[in-house]
């Protein structure tokens, strides 16, 4: 019996585990370590209309139980992703979630229209929350009305369901979630990184050339859990949760909070085998905790007890 399969708009997942966008490139490097068909899905690196070189280096800095990155949406551009990366990925039996980014609305719409037609792209992830690009990006992610509008425009042209990726750098995450729901989103992915900074003790200057960067890793997990807990109760969209996941237990905690599937970001950079390791561990953890199927964990933190009669614990 498969205890791990989950169905979400556009996505039939063998298991709820997928690498998060930007932490897995387009999969090539990781295919040296394991068969990518093992994954529930793959969230590929943000794709923009034109190729982007991204920010100057240094682009990463370490922090306590986390890291800052300011990659700046470096990617080979829509054309190359469609001509080279997606066809290469099609050798694997795994749905692709294409992370779509841009500076202005038209960019998003153009990328979404085209990339959503690729055979193995089963859903879009609208990146309205990247903290490392100067134009567009951040404003889309912090003003509800703008986010709603963008979601609607992208929905109009997309051939597949649209998930919107929320930024945690807001006063009211629920308001943002409700806005994208009203805009017609099929799902939510959360959270993106928190804006942070580190200074060099010797020079006094920022370590990152971009000055600020996005904070990811275990440090942000409690913030992600809290936000998913709030959002999952306030909207009726499914959530793909992320932020500091390192282990099968972390995955369960995200599901308890209200996520229906979980993405792993930074941990891939530390241990390239982390995703298959988590997938292998999950059945045992479910067994130990007394769940027949992983779905029983979803939203347990806020459900009334007894809602899942067959829980043995």
């Amino acid at each position: 019996m498969n205890r791990l399969n989950v169905e979400l708009p556009g996505l039939r997942l063998k298991n709820p585990i997928m690498p998060a966008s930007g932490c897995f490139g387009f999969g090539r490097e990781f295919s040296q370590f394991y068969d990518l068909s093992k994954l529930g899905a793959i969230m590929i690196k943000a794709t923009t209309l034109e190729p982007r070189f991204g920010n100057p280096t240094p682009r990463v800095a370490e922090t306590a139980a986390g890291m800052l990155n300011a990659i700046g949406l470096q990617n080979p551009g829509l054309e190359k992703v469609i001509a080279e990366e997606l066809p290469w990925l099609s050798q694997f039996d795994v749905p692709i979630i294409a992370n779509v980014a841009g500076s202005v609305e038209e960019d998003y719409v153009a990328v979404a229209r085209k990339i959503s037609q690729a055979a193995n792209v089963k859903a879009l992830e609208l990146n309205i929350s990247c903290p490392n690009v100067k134009t567009g990006g951040i404003a889309f992610g912090t003003i509800p009305e703008v986010a709603k509008q963008l979601t609607r425009k992208v929905k109009e042209v997309s051939a597949v369901p649209v998930y919107v990726k929320l930024s945690p750098n807001v006063s009211n995450i629920v308001e943002m979630a409700q806005a994208v729901e009203a805009g017609g989103a099929d799902g939510i992915t959360m959270i993106n990184t928190l804006v942070g900074m580190r200074l060099d003790i010797k020079t006094g200057k920022p370590i990152l050339a971009n000055l600020t960067g996005g904070l990811s890793g275990p440090a942000i997990k409690p913030i992600a859990i809290r936000m998913i807990y709030e959002v999952s109760q306030a909207v009726s969209l499914p959530i793909i949760g992320m932020g500091g996941v390192q282990s099968a237990e972390d995955v369960i905690e995200f599901l308890y909070a209200g996520a229906s599937a979980v993405a792993v970001g930074t941990a891939n950079l530390v241990d390239p085998l982390v995703c298959p390791a988590i997938i292998d561990d999950l059945p045992d953890v479910l067994e130990r905790l007394g769940y027949e199927h992983i779905k029983e964990c979803i939203g347990r933190s806020w459900q009334r007890d007894g809602q899942f009669a067959n829980h043995r614990a």
């Binding site: 190729p51 280096t57 139980a65 990659i71 085998l273």
Partner: protein
């Protein structure tokens, strides 16, 4: 193939002030293809520190499946490495990147190897392999001060070896670039701080020069785009990744 392996520590010793030589046994040694490749070390199973640390392979032996890493105790990560003792295990990812091309120099030619500080270690295996091939090797090794000097004897066995120290406490006072002018060579291999690499690149526009770069890394395998540098060809807007396209580049191939 790149492997992630729990490698057994064979020995560790301090060979100069804050400079440590760590020997490990690892099957991933089988896959090393050239001197100048590096490994990515996870210094703890926990989250403090979170990221791996890139360290060059300074010597390896595929018969015995052993390799040597030489590193300077800097911050939290390398300080934890100092605590490793024989018998313990260390999580190593590697071999990574592309090393120094020894095929670029022919038997009987002279190769100049220039290392600065913690850029010296990867040159050691390179020196051994060049000598084994029948190439004349000259070394110029620059250090901060006398107590930081290491491997002078080892390099001297392979060829003429100049030592410089910035404060003049040992060898010649000054920088490696002061000495380079005095020697003649066919091909130059270098590893060290970027200003040094830049000076060398500019100094010998007509020679075969290979530079090993350092950049802050996350994944170490080419997936995260943390460690990029711009292509030296201005028309080419693409990028190179130090971890997977480098760390060794031909002079001019990337912008320093």
């Amino acid at each position: 193939m790149i492997r992630k392996e729990l490698c057994k520590i064979l020995s560790q010793k301090e060979i100069a002030a804050n400079i440590y030589e760590l020997r490990v046994k690892a099957t991933l040694v089988d896959d090393i293809r050239a001197p100048g490749q590096f490994v990515h070390v996870r210094v703890t199973n926990g989250i403090d520190p979170l990221l791996r640390r890139p360290i060059s392979i300074s010597a390896y032996n595929q018969q015995t499946e052993q390799m040597t890493l030489i590193y300077r105790k800097e911050g939290r990560g390398t300080s934890l490495m100092v605590q490793l003792e024989p018998g313990m295990e260390l999580d190593i990812l590697g071999p990574l990147g592309n090393g120094f091309p020894i095929e670029e120099v022919s038997v009987g030619e002279t190769a100049l190897l220039v290392g600065g500080g913690i850029g010296v270690p990867p040159l050691y295996e390179l020196s051994k392999q060049l000598v084994a091939k029948g190439v004349n090797v000259i070394h110029i090794l620059g250090f901060q001060t006398k107590s930081a000097v290491f491997y002078e004897k080892e390099f001297s066995k392979n060829g003429l070896t100049f030592i410089t120290t910035a404060d003049g406490t040992y060898g010649r006072k000054g920088f490696v670039t002061d000495v380079i002018k005095e020697v003649s060579f066919d091909c130059l291999y270098t590893c060290g701080p970027t200003p040094m690499l830049r000076a060398i690149e500019q100094g010998f526009p007509d020679k075969r020069v290979f530079l090993s770069l350092e950049e802050r890394m996350a994944c170490g395998v080419g997936a995260c785009f943390a460690c990029v540098c711009q292509s030296g060809d201005a028309a080419d807007t693409s990028y190179k990744k130090v971890c997977s396209d480098g760390p060794v580049f031909r002079a001019g191939e990337v912008v320093l």
